[in-house]
Amino acid sequence: MKLYDGGKIIAGIVVFVIAASSPFWYGKGKVVPPPDLKLDTPAIEQLREKLCVETAPYMRANHMKLLAAWRESVVREGDRSYGATDGKVYEISLTGTCLECHSNKGQFCDRCHDYAGAKPACWSCHIIPEEVR
């Protein structure tokens, strides 16, 4: 087998491999700090017991599943109340219940979603109260 213009081809491949893998070399050894989530909204400050509808580790891992279950519950079953593990009953509402406490969506939801590369489509329909006011 004979390789025509072998020098150019191999040089091209080398350049391509370096360019394609450059993000990995560039980021090697660097640690991106996890996002700093702000929990200092007025509504949270007023809470005597600083607790979400479920425990923080559960919410951190499963809030998307919980929200999906909430969505099904309200829209398809017409049930707007959520019985938490600790026995408290909450109204199911993204704008009303979630964002009432987490009124700083930009410093809470968005920071972590940006960090994780998650792009939830919630806000194309659901309203962010601070934007409307």
Partner: protein
């Protein structure tokens, strides 16, 4: 060298086992893990603040009480539900519309009727059919019928195929061809907006019924032309009116069983 028949069968068997076993294993681990939301807890669900309930919701519209040119019900509904105004009829979104009598009831009117009756404006909206054709054709079950007869839209599931718009004989559905957000005059934070690419329609103010309030159009009508209630309850307001007067439903012959009754 080509594999022998025996070798080929061995490889095929191992491959098949490899395809089947991992999903099975994940099913077992998931069943063991369990999440609080899924089944670990018995939720203590309470009935929301005295929600209005019915066997089948329906509405009676007394068109004689409608003042010509009045758009109170339309305005109230469209403000409550963040209905955009694109300012052009091609993209128009409407939950309630006002149509001429002759267009709403083409089979019941005739050319010799006086113009005053033929051009009488009649409010039209989703009929919340007993046998809704839109629900039958929806490929994702984004539109569905609740136990109380309300034909609902689940905008999360809508893929914008518009089969429902083709199926609805009443033209009650509108498609968001553009992003509606910039065209909403004042956003009501109590109700979500829609997004580009979903179909929307009247929801019988399902969100207000859950709070124990009558639909926005009914409370907005100063002439009391709209009456809302349970059509299966013989003692309800709607049934009292229907018992006393002659009423019509739109395109009754199609068998959709509309739940909006018109008194002419």
């Amino acid at each position: 060298m080509a594999p022998t028949r025996r070798e080929f069968l061995k490889i095929a068997g191992i491959s098949a086992a490899g395809l089947v076993l991992p999903p099975l294993a994940s099913v077992f681990t998931r069943a063991q893990a369990g999440t609080p939301a899924a089944g670990g807890v018995a939720p203590t669900v309470s009935e929301p603040r005295s929600a209005l309930t019915a066997k089948r919701w329906g509405m009676v519209i007394d068109t004689q009480k409608c003042r010509s040119g009045c758009t109170d019900c339309i305005a109230a509904c469209h403000i409550a539900h963040n209905v955009p105004d694109f300012g052009n009829p091609k993209d128009e979104i409407r939950w309630i519309g006002a149509e001429k009598m002759a267009h709403v009831f083409p089979a019941e009117t005739h050319p010799r009727l006086p113009e005053s009756i033929k051009s009488l404006p009649v409010p039209v909206f989703c009929n919340h059919c007993e046998n809704p054709p839109c629900v039958r054709v929806c490929p994702t079950q984004a539109t569905f019928q609740r136990a109380d007869g309300v034909v609902m839209m689940d905008y999360h599931r809508c893929i914008g195929c518009r089969f429902c718009m083709a199926a609805c004989p009443y033209g009650s559905r509108s498609m968001n061809y553009r992003d509606p957000r910039p065209f909403i005059r004042k956003i009501n934070p109590e109700f979500p907006t829609r997004t580009k690419g979903v179909v929307e329609k009247c929801n019988f103010c399902e969100e207000r019924l859950a709070q124990g309030i009558l639909p926005a159009c009914v409370t907005a009508c100063t002439q009391k032309a709209l009456t809302f209630g349970d059509v299966e309850d013989p003692g309800s307001d709607v049934r009292r009116i229907l018992d006393g007067k002659f009423s019509l439903r739109r395109r009754q012959e199609l068998g959709t069983g509309p739940q909006i009754y018109y008194i002419l």
